[in-house]
């Protein structure tokens, strides 16, 4: 039955109805006598009503929440006191105990006892971390959707029939409020321990301004909850407009996602992740922007984001499954968070060998286990399962109730995200800038592409948090040891680091202090692989890369990435209808094309989280450093992979010590901004002299062609990528995993099927229409993967992490050279 049909028999007339009736009354012509009569009658009615209502029994209000059933025997909603409302405490499947619950079930019978929501006449909530903290006014506001005004209830009674849309608003508000309160409670505890000296052993990444600044709550903005959005089989969180949207089922009009509290918690999980990841940024006046976990359709940052958002449901209800009603009942898309969930395939269990381990299960969909898919929600299950298992460990070793253990895990997550997302590049108040994320000037790019949060950095950060907050803290009285946690991480394939990296990644001090080393014996299942075993496919007749230049595909992909904000600037030389994109699989002047290296895993273990970078990096030796920037004359460095040899145009590196800026062997400490250093675009061009052929920067070709600088792809300020360049924002590709002795394409496709490429598998590049046909380019992509032994650990040290500046260069990467000829 359509939801709107039930609106004809409202349980209570709401303020909007009353207002409409009142306005109609004013249109009547009435005499003075009738006014008097009306006034007297109204006064009488008023007193009679007062008398009647004063005689009605009051509902019990001694506790904030009353667990009594919220409906009578006929399925009608019981009234509530002012300020109170009734929610579905869990989703209808769980409340009913029926996994095949009808979409037309009267959900009133599952309503909970009355609960204090808000005394205001609107669903607006003010938040406060503690009594001393300033009030964040209207931190949460809820309305039905974007097209309706906020529900106005002058009597502040929030009990509605579950068939009414108003109920969706109340349910959304109530659950948003519950998780917000819990989050502030935990944040306040952390603050008290860290900054009020309640726990002298406690060190934390949360900033000192946590209490004093209202900016903690996303710079004082209201988080909007839209309870009944026009989204089909979907929900969303928009950090820009700071809103969550709860959609509806495609087949059953009565099934709304806001009826499922686990999905509300999931979306709120995103909102709280966003606040936490930017906890330090929001109170830092020098950081006028924010950052996000993940930047692509598929990458590990976004997978971690989804995993923690799933955990938010467990945090609130202690159940290890979410979305049974909204996603599971009619779409087979609910998700588990523990290996002992019956939905899992045989072989997955809670033993160390049976965990949902990385990277084996990154594409595992428990609802369709035979059809793997690169999707952040599926990869995120590894994180949610780990977080639940960690909570259960804390419950056991700290001898606390599960509810308290869940809060402890949330405190650890806050600790890690707050540190990892710090654009001020400190991680903690008393650290030096550069301790994490390179520097304040370059941290945004570090988090986006140079060193984004992945499963390794998240696991390492969680390990640091467990060590400092749980293991090393005597006040915790937990018997949990580093070995226990390392073994747990290992069972998830997440023991991907060799040290806890307490000393950080500062360019000067990163390796000067001591770091806790992981016990090697604890790494039983996590495999670390040499980066050299990632290579282009060596198989006979295998191609080096896939090319995508179909016109409609490229227009569609560009539209999608632009409207999502992933890319913003396409060269003005590229016509927007892409007339030169001919779909011939070759690279032509004036095209936008996608490229995917045909990567091969030559090891005997699964590789996970393969990232290919096409952003500028330090691989040129500039010779015109006495000129103003940009430097344009120089030679490509060859000290990493021998290409190009000096005879083919490569730089002379003899006599270099690696100590002096300007040398090939010196990696820029300031991401190309110190004297003598400048990053270079990835693509070199072949230049034919009368007597020799050499590889050079693109400006050299421009000068030979006598092409004006303003005819370069990036305009006159960008002569070094004049003819061919990666589009910023689409300058990296990501692959979930590559099976041993296989390519990625062979890994993700079923036998006999073609692989399904999505936007995040491609690097998008643009070609100038001024490129002479026949020109040969060689582009030097950098690649790495998460379970790599020497992509994050500096081989020159005893397992220490690379310092952040190294990610401007080539040492932590496998260089993938792809050569192609531009043809007309």
């Amino acid at each position: 039955m359509p939801l709107e049909a039930h609106r004809e028999v409202p349980m209570e007339m709401d303020a909007r109805d009353k207002k409409a009736q009142g306005l109609a009354g004013f249109n009547k012509v009435i005499t003075t006598k009738r006014i008097k009569q009306t006034l007297i009658r109204s006064a009488w009615m008023f007193f009679i009503s007062l008398a009647i209502f004063s005689c009605l029994p009051e509902n019990k209000t001694t506790t904030t929440r009353d667990r009594a059933q919220g409906s009578d025997g006929n399925g009608q909603v019981e009234p509530v006191n002012s300020g109170y409302g009734r929610l579905l405490d869990d989703n209808p499947i769980i409340l009913s105990g029926q996994y095949n619950l009808s979409p037309n079930t009267n959900l009133n019978r599952y309503l909970g006892g009355q609960e204090l929501l808000v005394l205001d006449q609107y669903l607006n909530l003010d938040c406060q971390i503690n009594e001393e903290a300033p009030l964040v006014s209207q931190c949460i506001r809820v309305k039905q959707d974007q097209n309706t005004p906020q529900l106005n209830r002058p009597n502040a009674k929030w009990a509605f029939d579950t068939k009414r849309n108003e109920f969706l608003e109340v349910n959304t508000f109530g659950h948003m409020k519950r998780i917000q309160k819990l989050y502030f409670d935990v944040l306040n505890q952390k603050y008290q321990k860290t900054w009020e000296q309640l726990d002298p052993h406690y060190e934390s990444s949360i900033p000192m301004e946590t209490i004093s600044s209202t900016h903690i709550w996303n710079s004082q903005r209201s988080l909007w909850g839209y309870a009944n959005c026009d989204l089909v089989n979907n929900a969303s969180f928009s950090p820009a407009t700071f809103s969550i949207c709860m959609g509806r089922d495609s087949d059953y009009e009565t099934v709304r996602w806001a009826q499922d509290s686990t999905i509300i918690y999931h979306e709120m999980g995103h909102a709280l992740n966003h606040i936490t990841f930017n906890l330090r940024n929001n109170v830092n006046p020098d950081i006028p922007y924010q950052t996000n976990l993940g930047s692509l359709f598929y990458d590990e940052g976004n997978s971690i984001e989804e995993g923690i958002a799933d955990f938010a449901s467990y945090l609130m209800n202690g159940r290890t499954h979410l979305g049974e009603w909204a996603m599971g009942r009619f779409n087979n898309a609910s998700r588990p968070m523990s290996e002992d969930d019956g939905i899992h395939i045989p072989g997955i269990d809670t033993t160390a060998a049976g965990r949902l381990s990385y990277p084996t299960y990154v594409t595992y969909d428990p609802n369709f286990p035979d059809d793997p898919l690169e999707d952040v929600h599926f990869a995120g299950q590894i994180i949610s399962h780990y977080l639940v298992a960690l909570t259960q460990d804390l419950e056991k070793y700290c001898e606390v109730e599960n509810e308290k253990a869940r809060k402890k895990t949330l405190a650890l997550i806050i600790e890690s995200l707050s540190e990892l997302g710090d654009l001020g590049a400190k991680g903690r108040d008393f650290n030096l800038e550069g301790h994490i994320n390179h520097s304040a000037d370059h941290s945004f790019e570090w988090i986006r592409i140079n060193n984004p949060v992945n499963f390794r950095s998240f696991a390492q950060s969680m390990a640091r948090s467990v060590k400092s907050i749980i293991v090393d803290n005597p006040l915790n009285q937990c018997q949990y040891t580093l070995d226990d946690h390392e073994k747990l991480l290992d069972s998830y394939g997440l023991l991907l680091f060799r040290t806890y990296n307490e000393s950080g990644n500062h360019k000067d001090y990163g390796h000067l202090h001591s770091n806790t080393h992981v016990a090697t014996l604890n790494r039983a299942q996590t495999v670390l692989i040499s980066k050299d075993l990632l290579k282009l496919s060596p198989e006979q007749n295998a191609s080096e890369a896939f090319v995508f230049d179909n016109r409609s595909d490229m227009i569609s992909a560009t539209q999608s990435m632009k409207s999502a904000g992933q890319i913003t600037e396409i060269s003005s030389l590229i016509e927007s209808d892409l007339p030169y994109n001919n779909g011939n699989g070759r690279i032509s002047p004036g095209e936008v094309f996608g490229i995917t290296p045909n990567l091969y895993n030559d090891s005997n273990s699964m590789m996970g989280g393969v990232q290919v970078l096409a952003n500028d990096w330090d691989h040129f030796k500039w010779t015109d450093t006495h000129q103003d920037r940009p430097y344009t004359k120089g030679r490509p460095c060859n000290h990493l992979d021998g290409f190009p040899s000096q005879s083919l145009g490569g730089a002379d590196t003899s006599g270099e010590t690696g100590e002096n800026p300007g040398e090939c062997k010196y990696t820029t400490r300031q991401n190309g901004h110190e004297f003598g250093e400048q990053l270079a675009p990835i693509c070199l061009v072949q230049i034919n002299d009368d007597d020799a052929t050499k590889w050079a920067g693109q400006n050299e070709l421009r000068e030979r062609l006598q092409l004006e600088k303003n005819r370069c792809l990036g305009g006159e300020d960008s002569p070094n990528d004049c003819f061919m360049r990666a589009i910023k924002g689409a300058d990296q590709a990501f692959f979930s995993h590559i099976a041993p002795k296989k390519t990625w394409a062979q890994t993700v496709s079923n036998e006999g099927e073609s692989p399904k490429f999505n936007i995040s598998n491609l690097i998008f590049m643009e070609v100038s229409p001024w490129v002479p046909p026949g020109t040969i380019f060689k582009c030097r992509y950098r690649a790495r993967f998460t379970n790599c032994n020497d992509c994050f650990h500096d081989p020159k040290t005893d397992g220490l992490d690379f310092l952040d500046f190294e990610y401007s260069g080539g040492r932590p990467f496998k260089i993938i050279n792809l050569q192609f000829t531009v043809i007309d």
Binding site: P239, G585, H673
Partner: protein, 190 residues
């Protein structure tokens, strides 16, 4: 009886007063925040045009800043075109602004609009000089009425009108089989 009438009348007056206060309270809360979204589009002569975003457009982009329908006048005025003025904080120069909008709308289907809301002017020291940026929210609005839930923040260089970075892209929960078609097919190999 007269005495009773007086009491009744006074009580009723009190009752009305409370009602009016409540009503005023409601109206105050329902007031939209200062209108600051601007809609941009390219007209048939390929000119960039703009006007103050309409409530309907704000509804579609989930801005959270919609006017209550009851408060929208029955006879709606056509959106007023702006020649060159913008909300006071939006200082990107006219020429650069038009170029920015052209770039943002390039590749999009005809009829697509973008809505921009300026949030803050930012002075940032880069090397020896201070650059001025505008922090804005950008949202695309598609003609086929697909809800524009793809909002993001952007930092715009005030001098050049170029976007220097974007962040805060929307997160969706598309179910398997319901996700938008993003699959791409290679046309060739190297």
């Amino acid at each position: 009886m007269n005495h009773f009438k007086k009491i009744s009348f006074l009580s009723f007056t009190l009752f009305l007063t409370v009602l009016i206060i409540n009503q005023n309270k409601e109206e105050k809360k329902d007031e939209p925040v200062e209108q600051s979204w601007t809609t941009f589009y390219i007209d048939q002569s390929q000119e960039v045009k703009s006007y103050e975003s309409t409530p309907e457009e704000l509804d579609k982009i989930a801005s959270g800043e919609t006017k209550a329908p009851a408060r929208i006048p029955a006879s709606k005025k056509e959106p007023q075109e702006k020649s060159s003025h913008y909300p006071t904080s939006y200082q990107v120069k006219d020429k650069q602004k038009k170029q920015l909008v052209s770039r943002l709308l390039s590749f999009q289907e005809k009829g697509t609009k973008i809505l921009i809301k300026p949030e803050k002017t930012i002075h940032k020291k880069v090397g020896d000089q201070v650059n001025i940026y505008e922090k804005v929210i950008i949202t695309y609005l598609f003609e086929n009425n697909i809800k524009g839930f793809h909002s993001f923040n952007a930092l715009i260089d005030q001098d050049t009108g170029k976007i220097v970075r974007t962040w805060n892209q929307s997160i969706h929960e598309p179910l398997r089989g319901h996700r938008s078609k993003r699959e791409l097919t290679p046309t060739g190999t190297l």
